[in-house]
């Protein structure tokens, strides 16, 4: 037990170390713009922590990331790769906006939200399940199929935005705003933080319970660690592929609810176009652990707002795409830290063994 705790501490230490190194390295990139990184970073940091609204924005940005990260982590536990969370999120968004536009003004808020929740989960889930089915039935490479599914779903979304879902003014590629009755209620006055944030936390806990405390979760992890052994133990791995992908896609689809009903209140072309890939980054940072994902999402949400804040600083001309640079560098540092942790761990084990040998 003590050693387990030690290991958790070690993981935390290495991860935090990697993030700090990553932030420092990316700060140095500002030198190329002939800016003082310490000044820019600290003033951006201060601006965020002193302003309640901006602090709220961190939570708002983190919320959908929790879902896409959970989506990646879920199949990752079954040793499958769902790279298509972006597309499943779009599928969820399409259903969320359609339901909200049609029913939002008629039904009471609670009922609309519930319907949208189920609808967006199913929409993402169906896209996911199809990928899982292709894997189970045709032995198709799920990595490729899920990768390509995103492009297909976003083409479908563009088509719908240009035709049936287009705003009544017909000016931009976006839908009409939904009725205020269909909004996810705000939970922190003075910010845009909405009920979806709580939903994200709840979902992460549920996913943790599902993965680690239920028979289904056990089967999923068994297939992930050794599909042949699991098969011999009577677990039908093909069925697990479909179920894992269904739930994974559904989780990504739920981000459609939080983004449509909680933040944008309409569907726009290409919106939140990188939460899928950031979800992967977050899941890596958290090593696929659902509760770790909550914290990692918070970090990514924070970096995101940091990037936008820096981009808005007058006269500095920092592109807001610096977020991608920062997050890319941080992710590389985290991956390298996994290697270093393993290296340190191995060396320590070897020393322990050598000592034990010498005592005899």
């Amino acid at each position: 037990m003590k050693r387990l705790k030690e290991r958790y501490g070690e993981v935390l230490l290495f991860n935090i170390g990697a993030v700090v190194v990553g932030l420092i390295l990316s700060a140095c990139m500002l030198l190329f713009m002939k800016l003082n990184p310490i000044e820019v970073y600290s003033s951006a940091f201060l601006k965020i922590v002193t302003d309640k609204y901006t602090m709220g924005e961190v939570l708002v940005k983190s919320t959908p990331l929790v879902f896409t990260a959970l989506a990646f982590a879920f199949t990752y536990k079954a040793n499958l790769f769902n790279i298509g969370a972006q597309g499943q999120f779009y599928a969820g968004s399409i259903v969320a906006i359609t339901l909200s536009l049609q029913l939002g003004a008629v039904l009471p808020t609670g009922l609309t939200i519930l319907l949208v929740l189920v609808g967006s989960f199913l929409a993402g889930g169906i896209v996911g399940a199809l990928i899982g089915f292709a894997k189970a039935r045709f032995n198709a490479n799920e990595f490729l199929v899920s990768m390509m599914s995103t492009y297909v779903v976003s083409a479908v979304m563009d088509y719908l935005l240009r035709t049936v879902l287009r705003e009544t003014k017909g000016e931009y590629l976006q839908t009409d705003p939904i009725d205020a009755k269909a909004y996810l209620p705000s939970i922190l006055p003075g910010t845009r933080v909405h009920l979806g944030t709580l939903l994200a936390i709840l979902t992460a806990i549920l996913v943790w319970v599902l993965l680690y405390k239920t028979p289904l979760g056990f089967r999923i992890r068994a297939v992930g660690s050794n599909a042949t052994a699991a098969e011999l133990a009577g677990i039908r791995s093909k069925r697990i592929y479909v179920i894992a992908f269904l739930i994974s896609g559904g989780l990504a689809g739920m981000a459609g609810l939080t983004e449509i009903n909680g933040v944008q209140h309409m569907l726009l072309q290409n919106f939140n176009s990188s939460i899928g890939s950031f979800g992967i980054g977050i899941a890596i940072l958290a090593n696929g652990h659902p509760l770790g994902i909550l914290f990692a999402s918070l970090l990514f949400g924070f970096m995101n707002i940091m990037g936008t804040t820096m981009g808005r600083m007058p006269g500095l001309n920092i592109p807001s795409s610096i977020i991608d640079l920062i997050e890319g560098i941080v992710m590389i540092c985290v991956i390298i830290s996994y290697f270093l942790r393993g290296y340190v761990h191995n060396r320590r084990e070897k020393q322990r063994l050598r000592k034990a040998g010498a005592q005899k």
Binding site: M29, F32, M33, F81, I83, A134, F138, N139, A140, N141, F143, L144, V145, M147, M148, S149, Y151, V152, A155, V156, D158, Y159, R162, T163, S274, S277, F278, I280, G281, I284, N317, I318, P319, S321, I322, I323, D324, L325, I326, E327, G328, I329, M331, I332, I335, I336, Y338, F339
Partner: protein, 304 residues
Amino acid sequence: MTNILSRAIMMSTPLLLGSIAEVYAERTGMMVTAIEGIFLLGAWGGFVGTYITGSLAAGILLAIVCGTLMAALYGFITIHMKQQQIVTGTAINILAGGFCSFFQRVLFGIPTTPLQIDVLEPISIPLLSSIPVLGPMFFQQNLLTYFAYLVIPVSYFVLFKTSLGLTIRSTGENPEAVDVAGLNVNRIRFLTVLVAGAMGGLAGSFYTLGYLGMFTTGIIGGRGWIAFAICFLGNWNPKGAVVGTFVFGLAEAVAIYIQSMSNINIFPNELVIALPYILTIVLTVARSNFNVPAKLGVPYSKEN
């Protein structure tokens, strides 16, 4: 018609270079999942090199250097540090996107008009280009396309008829045997990934140097992944890659053609854009008998 076919050959060029690069790397057991980022960096490097020096040769060179460096980072993390390939690739692709748009701003600020460069001119090969249909289709292309023609037989020959090719193939099938034969598995993998990176960078540069003449961060838009897919669908064989590339090049040329004919509205534009991606899914599902290199995606460590 000839126009579309010649366009198809042109649009196949980067996919061909990219997928053959991928074939080589995957034959040694390395999926280069950073290929999308390598393409993007190649496109950016090609643009920057050409814009600053005014010479296309410098652009091509910088594209190759950029692609190789990106591949070196990828290879170092996945081969020497033995980290998961898909995960590392995702990180590198995000990094590449951020890197290009950030340094584009650092170098050029916010230009009032889009920065343009002159693209590679098509070169007509005397005699051959005057053959009806085939001439304009194959022999009025730019330099990179001719280079791709050269790559097809050479890559096939090296992979299947030389001892180097045998080593490469064995490294992906049975690395222990390669190791026992006294060769360094990880070095073979790393060098192959570097070569793949150089080719990928060159392939990416086609989009700026051979086609658009300008750079945007969305310029690759998943085409690196399509090259990645072609490698799978072509069964890890340069011959298969050629067929796959032409199909995708054709799909892309048709898409460009239909988009330019704005008065014809048989298909929604979006369907046409999604065509290559739908094609990939259909082909991946339809073909299940693959000759996957046995140790694809598995890091090699000596037991000691």
